[in-house]
């Protein structure tokens, strides 16, 4: 579990996070939503201990420090590294000069979890974007973390891969009881992937709660400055249809009948 209390981060003299309080329980996915520059990535980095922060960060139950893995958005793939080596690097802090059987077995399990065992020897640069994202997910799992922080894991993936990665994260969090904080941009994916949504606005948590309570007109107006239509999806979760920036005419509104088609 993650407990963040009154977290403040100042970067280059500019306050990025101003007193963020947030909790993620074991077995729970919390999606962090907010406009560009709201401080989403900074919050993940602060929890991972990569930027100096004031406030309290507690990882794991009292007195324990649960193992944490952070998957940043960056997804460059150098030539000359195999899938297996990239996954092994997930255990960097425990990896000896000679790779032991324990490390290989952990890498194998991580690759098996994302279903890419057969690609172990392949150069990671030869993989498709979707496969590469799976490899980085395996890297994140290779250290057997209890807490995972994912920064836009679905960015740059096509629809099918977005659904696959989202389902995989959902399954792994459930099976392993991980506490997962994930930055997402797509509200509709977030509503289906996460148990709760946390809305980050100008370095503060605007609101946090279940998707149907968070995806409301006033929240979207504050957060993104947009007007949106809200529908009920076939799975019961809300469907958000962004219409136009507030105060402006829509440049290209959805064609007539879209809403009806979605309902049907």
């Amino acid at each position: 579990m993650i407990r963040v209390e009154d977290l403040t981060v100042t970067l280059g003299g500019r306050p990025v996070l101003r007193g963020v309080t947030l909790a993620v329980e074991a077995g729970e996915i919390v999606a962090l939503l907010g406009p560009n520059g709201a401080g989403k990535s900074t919050l993940l980095r602060a929890i991972a201990g990569l930027v100096p922060a004031r406030g309290r960060i507690r990882l794991g139950p009292d007195g324990e420090h649960a193992r944490l893995a952070f998957m940043p958005q960056e997804s460059s793939a150098p030539r000359g590294l195999s899938v297996l080596e990239v996954v092994l690097l997930g255990r960097l802090e425990r990896l000896g000069f000679v790779v032991g059987a324990v490390d290989l077995e952990a890498a194998r399990r991580a690759l098996a979890a994302v279903g890419l065992e057969d690609l172990a020897a392949r150069p990671v640069a030869e993989l498709s974007g979707g496969q590469r994202q799976m490899v980085y997910l395996a890297q994140t799992l290779a250290a057997d973390p209890r807490i995972v922080l994912l920064d836009e894991p679905l960015a740059a993936l096509d629809l099918r891969h977005q659904l696959e990665v989202a389902a995989l994260v959902r399954r792994l969090v459930g099976e392993r009881g991980l506490a997962c904080l994930v930055v997402l941009h797509d509200l509709n994916v977030a509503a289906r992937m996460a148990d709760r949504l946390a809305l980050l606005h100008e370095g503060r948590i605007l609101a946090a709660g279940p998707p149907e309570a968070m995806l409301r007109p006033r929240h979207l107006a504050t957060l993104y400055g947009v007007e949106a239509a809200f529908l009920e999806g076939p799975d019961g979760a809300p469907v958000v249809l962004p219409l136009r920036p507030i105060g402006q005419a829509a440049c290209a509104g959805p064609p007539a009948g879209t809403a009806a088609a979605l309902r049907g």
Binding site: R79, G80, L81, A112
Partner: protein
């Protein structure tokens, strides 16, 4: 099935890389023996080996091999290894395939130091040659200290380090030009010859010093191997994995500076080895730095020993400056990399 797939993949990766390492060791050994056999008196590999082992029978051959050619060949081996190793590390920590040990301005500083010693002729109690080497080393060390200080003061990012290195390079180049302008014709010719780079200044002391520095630097850098590999995944991901990129960069560069500074102080500015050898090594063993670092060193040694042999074989009876040859071989190689760009030549 699954256990065997991953374990087999690992065995095959490891096997391929160990095979490349072993093949390079054999090639370097062969290049070393051929280099010892090349010169005004041509010797067969068998004669060279016999002379090295002390059972040649012919004292002249033994003297040629052991006293005249061996120090040069050892210096070639060590300088080549130092430059290849340094080049691989510099390219990794600066995330720049066109970087070389000289990108950081150390060679420019060493050149200025050597020229200063030649022009001022300071009254130090040692041979003129040793004074030049010492002065070159001191200035290279000064430049390295300056670079690392700038890296620490600022954010320590690759761009900062490259720009700081460029500034140092231009500063010392300008001062070197000034010295050359002011120097007497005799001193000027000495400076120019020093700058060409040569293995002819080899002796046992220099070889021992360079060997000792490499004996410290190689294990120290190998200890950083996994973190350096993580750096290849990008700054942000390396940080997320716990590689501490900034500290890693400065620590790696400190070792590289020591190796490069001594190599340049003893052999002058021999170009292209530190640029080309790492690319060759990467093509052979990939980015697992546990293999890449020693293989890049061996590629550098192989490159320099071959150039050294060629420098004596092309014009019989005379020695072409080795720096000219490494550039002549290096330029087509570099162009090849540029042409292959986008298809994996430069990544």
């Amino acid at each position: 099935m699954s256990t065997s797939t991953v374990a087999a993949a690992w065995r095959s990766l490891t096997g391929r890389r160990l095979a490349a390492l072993a093949a390079l060791v054999a090639l370097v050994a062969a290049a070393f023996v051929i280099d010892l056999g090349t010169g005004p008196a041509r010797l067969a590999p068998g004669e060279v080996v016999a002379a090295l082992l002390g059972g040649a029978g012919d004292p002249v051959t033994e003297a040629i091999v052991r006293s005249i050619r061996l120090p040069m060949a050892i210096l070639g081996l060590l300088v080549g290894f130092a430059l290849g190793l340094s080049g691989a590390v510099v390219q990794t920590v600066l995330a720049n395939p066109l970087a070389s040990p000289y990108t950081l301005g150390l060679a420019g500083a060493a050149g200025f130091g050597a020229a200063l010693a030649i022009v001022l002729d300071p009254p130090l109690p040692m041979a003129a040659e040793a004074r030049t080497a010492l002065c070159a080393f001191l200035f290279a060390a000064l430049a390295a200290a300056l670079l690392l200080l700038l890296g620490r003061l600022r954010d320590g990012r690759p761009e900062t380090l490259v720009l700081a290195g460029l500034a140092i390079l231009f500063l010392f180049q300008a001062m070197l030009s000034l010295l050359q302008y002011l120097a007497t014709p005799e001193a000027l010719s000495q400076i120019v010859f020093w700058l060409f780079g040569s293995l002819a200044r080899a002796n046992g002391t220099k070889n021992a010093i360079l060997a000792a520095i490499l004996a410290l630097a190689l294990p120290a850098l190998m200890r950083l191997a996994w973190r350096l590999a993580a750096l290849r995944l990008g700054e942000e991901r390396a940080a997320a994995l716990g590689a501490r990129p900034r500290a890693l960069r400065l620590e790696a560069l400190a070792w590289v500076s020591a190796a490069t500074a001594s190599a340049v102080a003893f052999a002058g500015t021999i170009g292209f080895v530190g640029l080309v050898a790492p690319h060759l090594a990467r093509a052979l063993v990939g980015e697992d730095q546990r293999y890449l670092l020693p293989v890049a060193g061996l590629c550098g040694a192989l490159f320099l020993l071959t150039a050294s042999t060629a420098s004596r074989a092309i014009v019989p009876g005379s020695i072409l400056p080795i720096g000219i040859l490494t550039a002549l071989v290096g330029v087509p190689f570099l162009l090849g990399l540029v042409l292959r760009r986008g298809r994996g030549g430069l990544s």
